[in-house]
Symmetry: C2
């Protein structure tokens, strides 16, 4: 049921516009996917997400497996109905959180055993289990279980993690085929740290497994920005051209432009939602901090060029007041604005690619910056 | 500009249906006014308030005076535009918070001096100042500065507070007349603790001052429920029949029924909003606690008879999950439901009065209770 078509290739760079079809509708690429860790993009409703233009969101396998768990979500035949989001959902495999959030993560022949960060209970996440969980979550796009290395990682560490990730990808593919959940796509993940040679091997061997799409994992894990972009630049061309290319966890607007230039199609990041809750707003002029004293009496919205609900109805003075007063509405209005910004940032990039004007889009982006 | 008309008097009790006209539109009574302390009904937007049926909300003079303060709100010509609420607003006088929240409140000849609970700065709230603040807030309905006694209060304590309240009411009236803010109504407040005789004197002398409406203050301050209702029963008939009668700070659904029966027209209470944030939902079956284990897999909404956004789109299982996960969306969905419940509870009472069926409304209310 899943398919992906590139509908326009830029003549100025590797940027491209495409369209994915999932079991829950179309997704136009390049696309930004807001993060809905626990079955909720923090503070906003599905209707608000849709009004921001979001076509696909991300759910976290590790979190949803632990809480509310299979029994509850199965009662609703998956995450869509449970959380009242009728559009596409991509779930990560849980691997990243197991290694970063859980306690005592230990790789065994079977998979990775760990202790829940909530109650210390012991669990085993295997490739088969990751597919099973994403099966009952009814994700439109599942991710293979992977092992993500921290930065810096030695060649040997990165090689081991990439090898395990590849082995797990094989087992995920097998489990996915056995389960016969044909309406759910399965993406493979390239690892290899910042070692280009490992990235190359990982990408090539992964491509042989013929996934519905391919992701670069293990980026934005603390490495210098240039190194992130260089690694992405080395790896993205190695991914099959006819498949969607997903860069996991990268979200600075400047980087999104560069990554789209390199041919990337999909992005997720907690930056818009987390920073909103910290009072940071992304605007066409740059990032602004809502608590700044010069907004005290400012009747203007955060971004005069923005059509989001927040900018249409509220002033910086009010947003500043709400945030300083720790009013719950503050987090929500900020989140609506930031999610709208990111989703539409990618939509505008797509429109520029379709008109083959990506270079002038990029130029305008930097010209508008004041902050 | 302000006017109030009783359009239907119940033949079964003192209950009545009326309509108020404020500078920002009509308000059908009896009416419940959600509390928006700091220029926001916590966690929800003005559009959501309106969708719940709210026609008037309450703002807190004490809080808004301290934060964001006059300069900011005047920049927006009042609270309506600042907070994006185009309908009616009633503001309290600040008296209640000064005596309950601020530090070192001390009554002087001028008014009451106090220290801000935020930064310890010293302020003086006088009757004239209370009118001035409510002037720049541009409240549709202002309240006179009053002194509220705690429970229990001796006759002497209560008499003193009632006398001061009456003196302040005179000064408020004078300040209001001098300011010439004719589009803003001014209500007087009856005090007197639980001493019926003091309530009588206070009400009679206040009525001589000819306010646009009258409120009972100093109820629901810790007294037994029966005593609250007995005091209200003694005082409500003493208020001028042709003016709106407002019972401040009372909100248990059972009490609202009894108070409407006694002839009360207006109510405010933090119960729906505060309890929502504590996971308690008001339903036709009674109050339910969303964390209850038996809702773990419950696909039903909190109240099948409720037409609010939350009940139309979400299950108890999901609301329980959000609340246990401390997701911000939990507080909001619960608040929408509770505000909808209270606002519509009063609207349904009004409809029953119009059909002269209040007694059967009351009977049905108790029959539906299961919890």
């Amino acid at each position: 049921m899943f398919r992906f078509d590139v509908i326009k290739q830029s003549t100025q760079s590797s940027a491209r516009a495409g369209i994915m079809q999932t079991a829950h509708g179309p997704v136009e690429t390049p696309v930004f996917m807001p993060v809905g860790t626990l079955g909720s993009v923090k503070s906003i409703t599905p209707e608000e997400l849709a009004a921001c233009g979001a076509q696909v969101i991300l759910g976290n396998t590790y979190h949803l497996y632990l809480r509310p768990g299979r029994e509850v979500i199965s009662r609703f035949h998956g995450l869509h109905r449970f959380m009242h989001w009728p559009h596409s959902i991509l779930t990560d495999s849980g691997g990243f959180q197991v290694f970063s959030l859980a306690k005592l993560a230990r790789v065994t022949a079977e998979g990775v055993s760990f202790q829940s960060h909530i109650d210390g209970s012991t669990h085993l996440l295997s490739p088969e289990k990751a597919i099973e969980i994403q099966g009952w979550l009814d994700a439109d796009i599942m991710m293979c279980l992977d092992q993500c290395t921290a930065y810096p990682a030695s060649y040997e560490e990165a090689r081991k993690a990439a090898d395990i990730t590849l082995e797990w990808a094989r087992r995920c593919k097998g489990a996915w085929e056995s389960a016969g959940n044909g309406h759910q796509a399965l993406f493979g993940i390239v690892q290899g740290g910042m070692h280009f040679e490992l990235r190359r091997t990982s990408a090539e061997r992964l491509a042989e497994l013929n996934f519905s799409g391919y992701a670069l994992g293990g980026l934005s894990v603390g490495e210098p920005l240039d190194l992130m972009l260089d690694t992405a630049a080395a790896a993205i061309p190695l991914l099959p051209e006819e498949k969607p290319k997903y860069i996991m966890g990268c979200g600075r607007p400047e980087d999104l432009i560069d990554l789209v230039c390199l041919g990337a199609d999909m992005f997720d990041c907690v930056l818009p939602t987390r920073n909103a809750r910290n009072g940071q707003l992304f605007t066409s002029r740059g990032v602004i901090t809502v608590t700044n004293a010069w907004y005290r009496q400012d009747p203007d919205p955060p971004d005069k060029t923005c059509a989001c609900y927040t900018c249409r109805n509220y002033s910086l003075a009010y947003l500043r007041h709400l945030f300083l007063s720790r009013e719950l509405l503050a987090y929500r209005l900020n989140t609506i604005h930031n999610v709208h910004y990111f989703v539409n940032f990618l939509r505008r990039m797509r429109a520029a690619i379709l008109k083959d004007e990506f270079e002038s889009f990029k130029k305008r982006f930097y010209e508008n910056r004041e902050i």
